[in-house]
């Protein structure tokens, strides 16, 4: 059963066409992530679902009920905002209880629910404090608490972690995922961060310029991207793209280097773009027939791994190696490229062949 069904949804801001006919179903209990670069329409889509923006056309159903023209309060949703949206003049307790009191819940029930939500999020000791006395992570927890006490059909998260620093973001990510496993509710999460999308989602909906570019499980999108855009958007460091021409069982790159084609694709002589992930470039033996000899331009250690920027195939690629690969700018390397996992892209359509 789909808790949210969006059909033919359009949204205009003046002349700007922000959503261009979105069709989408979010199955009950799933964690769905809307992801894409800024301006792709992901936030607009979420806000239109919430009723904070008015649809310019199309239909939105929540729990089987048409809510396209309903007020936010009549949509059975709860929402967590990027900047926490806590009321500075209310205590943590009153902040969490705000939605229940607005809906005239009995005070005893309100108290019970607030206590349970606070316990679940580990903020039981903070209930009497005020938002200004809390750290960023604690505020985000209170904001989540305010959403979950509501026990709504749909939980919406609008980039909830982007105001936190890297370390805290990792921790909160785990916590949100754990919360989803515990509550088993339908959650929709908006982010521009591909790593958040990959790690959190049951299903990723990748948007671009107001249309859905591809949707599916994180691994499906990562390993079988439909377009160059998807391939380049997911993964870090970014996929390397090299221009080339199809030959007999090989792709010839701009500088003449040849890469084997594991299966025949495209027509011979046709232009293609080869997409290679940095993780699929490895160090080979010097003198090996399949290895390419290159000179390292720039090196970025990350701890256990190392990213090397290497001029290759008429462009510059990044490879990920072991931290002790002993490469320095100027060093000579022999690299092997795992072409079985490369994406072959038609430059005319930007589609993966």
């Amino acid at each position: 059963m789909a808790d949210l069904k969006v059909s033919g949804l359009h949204k205009f801001y003046g002349k700007f066409h922000a959503l261009k006919g979105i069709d989408l179903e979010v199955p009950s209990g799933e964690f769905t992530v809307f992801v894409g670069p800024s301006g792709c329409g992901k936030s607009t889509l979420l806000r239109t679902v919430a009723g904070l923006e008015e649809a310019s056309g199309g239909r939105i159903e929540i729990g089987g009920k048409d809510v396209t023209w309903a007020r936010p309060r009549d949509r059975d949703i709860a929402m967590v905002f990027q900047n926490y949206a806590l009321y500075p003049y209310l205590s943590v307790e009153d902040n969490i209880a705000f939605g229940l009191r607005a809906r005239k819940f009995a005070e005893a029930e309100t108290q019970k629910r607030v206590a349970r939500a606070a316990e679940m999020l580990g903020i039981g000791a903070l209930l009497k404090r005020f938002p200004r006395e809390l750290s960023g992570g604690q505020r985000q927890r209170v904001a989540i608490g305010r959403a979950i006490v509501r026990d709504a059909l749909l939980f919406l998260f609008d980039e909830p972690l982007s105001n936190l620093d890297a370390q805290l973001r990792d921790d909160m990510r785990v916590e949100i995922k754990r919360l989803h496993q515990e509550l088993k509710r339908t959650m929709i999460y908006v982010t521009h961060d591909q790593i958040e999308a990959m790690t959190l989602a049951d299903r990723i909906v990748l948007l671009r310029d107001g249309v859905i570019e591809q949707q599916g499980s994180p691994l499906a999108l990562f390993e079988r991207p439909a377009t160059k855009f998807v391939a380049g958007f997911l993964g870090s460091p970014k996929m390397n793209f090299l221009k080339g021409r199809i030959g007999k069982g090989v792709v010839t790159l701009e500088d003449g280097a040849k890469l084997p084609l594991p299966s025949p694709k495209g027509k011979e002589g046709g232009a293609v773009i080869v997409g290679i992930r940095p993780q699929h470039i490895s160090l080979g033996a010097k003198g090996s027939r399949t290895a390419h000899h290159v000179i390292v331009e720039l090196v970025q250690p990350t701890g256990t791994r190392l990213h090397a920027t290497i001029p290759f195939g008429g462009s510059t690629i990044v490879g990920e190696f072991d931290a002790h690969a002993a490469t320095k700018p100027g060093a000579q390397l022999a690299i092997e490229i795992d072409m079985s996992r490369a994406a072959i892209i038609d430059p005319a359509t930007d589609k993966v062949i």
Partner: protein, 279 residues
Amino acid sequence: MSALPFHRRHDVRLAIRYALAILITIVFVFPVYWLFIISFKTPDEIFAFPPVWYPKSVQFANYRVLFKDGDAETVLNSLILAGASTIFAMILGTLAAYSLARFKTGGENFAVWIISQRMMPPVAIVFPIFLLYVAFGWVDSFHGLIILYTAFNLPYVIWMMRGYIEDIPLELEESALVDGCTRWEVLWKVVFPMARAGLFATAVFTFVFAWNDFLFALVLTRTEVTTFPVQVTHYFGGQSNFWAKIAAMSVLGTIPVFFAVATMQRFLVRGISMGAVKG
């Protein structure tokens, strides 16, 4: 917001500070002191030369006479007029400001047009208003002046409150809408508490503007609702014993303003610095 560091010699700060200190003393503090002192002086002391810098004996005769003559009553009239018009202007103005801030009613130019109204020379509009009031029979009435002050202060209230409301993060209101509030509940439960300091600061200014009005009260009142500023000027140009009366009246008329500012001080500090802290 951190302060800039202090670099010993080459600094603008000292120059500005001295200029400021001297100016403040001459222009602001001295007249106020002089006024205060005169109100306790005997008639002889007022025009003595060399001037009497501080009175030999403090005497309340100048104040006692105010209550006998009914002058003090005009302070009460001013209180009623300024108080009532402030309440009305705040209610109407805040609602209008919300509309401008959140629904972009009329756009930026409309907001500028509204505050431009505040710039219309009072002396230019007082005349048609007088004609209007004569026609309505509103001259020399409380409701006439209350309506006028309300209307005159409305642009200021709209302008100020619009700024304060725009400073409230939109998400706070959106969150309340999602959580189950109607738009009116959002106003009560989110906008007013968030803009509280701004509300009080604006109310103080509005009160003071009405309190200090001289021209409208002069033209539109006769004997029934004489205000304190008009009453004071009745004694201008008179004898030396009137000077003492004027001084005492002035001190009396400054007390409500003093209290308004003093009690609202913490809101004024917050309201004035709101812009600065929100980043």
